[in-house]
């Protein structure tokens, strides 16, 4: 049986005045997906996320949600939190008990100020907050930016575990090196959808989006990745 679509986006356009940020976006996100949303800086990744969340209104096009908006959990970039914010972790969370706190391992952090935590700990608090709303879809905007490698690994393991439990995940990221072992699909955008494919096809997908220079760099760092021929081009495609 085909997986149930959670979000269907058709002919989506978004612009700030005359500045077109998103153009002709057509994509479908289905149940249990784990999608990495990648693209260069300023390519419209965060704008797409905000349009999907309903924080920004599209200039034209349609978005169909098959789940209530409350069932979408959002983890914003942690840099959006004010550095002087005096709230403690337990003040931020909806409850001090529950599965979300166990899953994210933040029980010992409850009494601490959010701003006193490390980058990795802050991300775990933000994800716990999102999980307390029992989401069916979790959208994370560059969650590992500025987080050390060890904390990143633990964070990715947590995401994988959540996806196994049935939560659909959209991960906006620049960390393309880890995607092949983490996500199920990669969606590349640069104002419009450049390509969508399997993470194993990363080198080819990156080549399409960033050009030859980036691909050499990527292959140098990840020699195990070899391009296959199943890359889709110029639109949205699914298996």
């Amino acid at each position: 049986m085909a997986a149930k679509p959670l979000i269907s986006v058709s002919n989506l356009h978004f612009s700030y005045g005359e500045n077109t940020i998103l153009e002709d976006i057509n994509v479908e996100i289905v149940e249990h997906d784990f999608i990495a949303l990648i693209g260069p800086n300023g390519s419209g990744k965060t704008t797409l996320v905000k349009v999907l969340l309903g924080l920004l209104q599209p200039t034209s096009g349609e978005i169909f949600l098959s789940i209530p908006k409350e069932k979408i959990g959002y983890v914003p970039q942690r840099y959006t939190i004010d550095k002087t914010f005096p709230g403690t972790v337990e003040e931020i969370l909806i409850t001090k008990e529950g599965e979300a706190i166990k899953q994210t391992g933040i029980k010992d952090l409850l009494k601490k100020k959010f701003i006193s935590l490390s980058g990795g700990q802050q991300q775990r608090v933000l994800i716990a907050l999102a999980l307390q709303g029992s989401p069916k879809l979790l959208i994370l905007d560059e969650p590992t930016a500025g987080v050390d490698v060890q904390a990143q690994q633990a964070f990715y393991a947590l995401l994988k575990q959540l996806n196994k439990k049935g939560i659909t995940i959209i991960l906006v990221t620049h960390e393309v090196g880890v995607l092949s072992s983490l996500v199920k699909k990669v969606l590349c955008i640069n104002h419009r959808i450049c390509c969508m494919g399997h993470p194993q096809d990363m080198p080819k997908l990156l080549k399409q989006m960033y050009g030859q220079h980036f691909i050499h760099h990527h292959e140098h760092n990840h020699p195990e990745h070899h391009p296959k021929d199943s890359t889709h081009k110029g639109g949205h495609h699914h298996d």
């Binding site: 924080l55 979408i72 959002y74 939190i81 914010f85 005096p86 709230g87 403690t88 003040e91 709303g133």
Partner: protein
């Protein structure tokens, strides 16, 4: 201070009224201040106070109660700032617009009608020692409004301060909380003008929060310390002004500065 007590300052009706009204105003500012400062709206109080200057002048010109004229002007002004920000004008630029409009309007009216400069001066530097019973009733009514608002919308305001986008997604009452908070801030600014004057209102809104942020260990503590430091500054500022015969608004603000530098030192040493 003992000397002041021996003066028996509380036997004076104007001192009793100043302290009562001052405490209510201080508590209002101490409770709403953190939500302004942490949302990077510290200068909104200043902008609205300067707009109130235009409103007061307009009221005096039209023969309407200047405080009511200021209140209407300031409420309209605060919604105008919000709409400008939504249209992608920077918040600080929108506040600068508001501030200039208020001062410009006031100066033009003073130019047209000469004669109420003395009245206007009392609004500029405040006249807490001249509070009437009506002023005190208004201040306590506003304090009740602030407390009721926080009882109902504390979580919404907390999340708005933490992350506005997350709040919009997870909490249904955000538009209503934002709307009521805008009106409340306008009212707090106008009522505070009676105590510390247009020029120093933002000090009463901002400095107690900065004092609290230096030493608080949680958000609730920030609200508590901000309120306490605001009340302490107002009480001792009034008493100090009585002893050395200086304008109370100035001594209140200077005491707040002492509190700020004191807590800064404590923070560095701790």
């Amino acid at each position: 201070m003992i000397e002041a007590l021996s003066y028996g300052f509380l036997q004076y009706g104007f001192m009793q009224k100043a302290l009562l009204g001052g405490i209510a105003i201080a508590l209002c500012c101490g409770l709403v201040g953190p939500f302004l400062v942490l949302r990077r709206l510290s200068l909104l109080g200043d902008g609205l106070a300067h707009l109130a200057f235009g409103g007061v002048a307009l009221g005096l010109l039209l023969g309407v109660n200047p405080i009511i004229a200021a209140l209407i002007t300031v409420v309209l002004g605060s919604f105008w700032v919000r709409s400008l920000v939504k249209k992608n004008i920077y918040g600080d630029a929108a506040i600068a617009l508001l501030l200039s409009l208020g001062v410009g309007l006031g100066v033009v009216i003073i130019g047209i009608v000469r004669g109420f400069n003395t009245n206007l001066y009392s609004y500029l530097i405040g006249s807490i020692l001249a509070l009437s019973i009506t002023d005190i009733i208004i201040a306590f009514s506003l304090l009740m409004g602030v407390i009721i608002f926080l009882l109902f919308f504390y979580r919404d305001m907390f999340h708005l301060t933490f992350n506005e986008e997350l709040a919009q997604l997870s909490r249904k009452n955000i538009p209503l909380a934002n709307f009521l908070f805008t009106i409340l801030i306008a009212m707090v600014v106008v009522v505070s003008i009676r105590a510390v004057g247009i020029l120093l209102v933002s000090a009463l809104l901002v400095i107690p929060t900065l004092v609290a942020l230096n030493i608080s260990k949680s958000f609730k503590q920030t609200l508590l310390i901000s309120s306490i430091s605001s009340i302490v500054a107002v009480i001792f500022g009034i008493i100090f002004s009585f002893i050395v015969d200086i304008p109370p608004s100035g001594s209140i603000v200077l005491l707040l500065f002492v509190g700020f530098f004191g807590t800064q030192m404590y923070k560095k040493l701790a």
